[in-house]
Symmetry: C2
Subunit: 162 residues, 2 copies
Amino acid sequence: MAPSDDVTRTIELLFFAYRAFTHDPDAHLESYGFGRAHHRVLHFVSRQPGMRVADLLDILAITKQSLAPVLKQLVDKGFIEQHEGAHDRRERRLHVTAAGARLSDDLKALQAQRLETAFASLPAPTRAHVEAFLFAIIDEQDREAVAALLPDVASGGIDPKR
Amino acid sequence: MAPSDDVTRTIELLFFAYRAFTHDPDAHLESYGFGRAHHRVLHFVSRQPGMRVADLLDILAITKQSLAPVLKQLVDKGFIEQHEGAHDRRERRLHVTAAGARLSDDLKALQAQRLETAFASLPAPTRAHVEAFLFAIIDEQDREAVAALLPDVASGGIDPKR
DNA sequence: CATTTAAGTCAACATGCCTGACATAAATCT
DNA sequence: AGATTTATGTCAGGCATGTTGACTTAAATG
């Protein structure tokens, strides 16, 4: 096997796996007239209620002009609410409504189903290895910010070599 | 830890990791006036020289109307060549040119760098676990076709439980 | 009071995907 | 041979998601 076959296989698996991973929510979102961009907003607002617009832009790494129509649609259709900041009234603190929480949970359930089925079919250490790998793929300078965002790892984490 | 924290962490890691994974090639492609769609075409044609347009459409899961402008640009700029099929002259067999092979290799090197650095920082079994996971994420009905496409696994594969 | 900050808006544009309809040439079936 | 199917290409129109640049508004801060 050529030396680059390993990396080719990983690259192609990532492509096909990520497409599968996003497929179910994409299909579900269609019935609401929403797309993947709406999913991302809903997910992170649901995960961090009260976040500011600027925080969301940082996480998504898009411009406010890109976010604007997506956020407006989510607000107009009653999935997200904006509240004036308590201490700084320029801020629009973002919250999911009950409907938004429901949709966000439904979308997560679709992805959870796929991920948990995969993990259940594989040996127990898989999850820790996979998470360590995914984390190591992220730019070193971004890892701290991402780690601060993620739910804590329970245990069995794979530590990077020194 | 809430039961859904695990899946939330995996979902978010996949999002951030995939964004990082595509970032370097995206940036490199910009200087050619190309996008991610061109990368995918270049990659698969390079991997399977002589493939037909219909094969490419199947793999990418897009319509020929979506592919057409992307393929035309790659042909016009001298990265891909089309040759009449030897046995069936309706077919346009796709091949990368020398320049196409070079660009494809350059893009792969960027992703290889990221992946291999990640694997090198982690215990040896990581690669097998990661690949088994990515494969298990793919729809069961698509796995056979994907497996046929991928370079063979050398050894140390993680077998799914029965 | 001047400046900065948070957010929103308007315009123009590019990419990458879609559906639908139709065209062409070559292979295949009857 | 003639009809049909197949492989590919093309035209038209549309939608989602992103970009840059310029500007506005309101509120906080120096």
